[in-house]
């Protein structure tokens, strides 16, 4: 069944997590969650091609009928590849920002893993400073 079917059949983006989870997009290298609806909409708008290379999305092309390939101009010789929905501004732009909280700083909060890395960096730095300082005494 062709992806256009889903584009036409769906009335909008998933409204809740369970619906969204069922429609998760397949690209393996995509680093963030993008619903299938968003991915298909972007593919359709971009004529099923990478906007830089012009290469055609392989899965879409394989799923199309000859009539659909004609409709979207996917005839002749061209390169195919795997394509992603690429965010221009990444989702991390808004992570950790709580505008509903008065006075909340407009900066990104640090994740626990990043805090842990900072702590390790601090400990290692202090260690080497001590080593350099007491080198003459040893």
């Amino acid at each position: 069944m062709h992806r256009n079917f889903y584009i036409n059949a769906m009335t909008g983006p998933p409204k809740d997590h369970s619906t969204a989870k069922q429609a998760v997009s397949p690209p393996a290298t995509s680093r963030v969650y993008v619903s299938n609806y968003d991915f298909l909409q972007a593919l359709h708008r971009d004529n099923y091609r990478c906007m830089i290379t012009g290469w055609v999305n392989r899965n879409s092309y394989k799923a199309m009928t000859d009539a659909e390939r004609q409709q979207f101009g996917l005839v002749g010789v061209f390169q195919t590849s795997n394509t992603n929905f690429c965010h221009i501004f990444p989702p991390s732009t808004n992570w950790g920002i709580k505008p509903e909280v008065p006075g909340h700083p407009k900066v990104l909060s640090l994740t626990p893993s990043f805090q842990c890395r900072l702590l390790i960096l601090f400990v290692v730095t202090v260690f080497w400073v001590c080593v350099e300082h007491y080198r003459g005494f040893w």
Partner: protein, 61 residues
């Protein structure tokens, strides 16, 4: 962060990119997986051109 984005493209982050709007169609484009990685590594970027509302891509040398 917000000031940079607002200065870059007159984009109000909260109004236009909040929550599910982050995945809106106008905030994304279809890219080959390898080009996507290059874009994520900031070796590929948009540049403003004179035509209104148009940005062009540039690669690092």
């Amino acid at each position: 962060m917000w000031s940079i984005i607002e200065g870059f493209g007159n984009i109000d982050v909260l109004a236009e990119l909040d929550g599910a709007n982050m995945h809106r169609l106008s905030n994304g484009l279809t890219l080959d997986v390898n080009i996507h990685l290059v874009f994520d590594d900031l070796e590929l970027w948009f540049e403003e051109v004179q035509v209104s509302n148009i940005k062009r891509f540039s690669f690092s040398p």
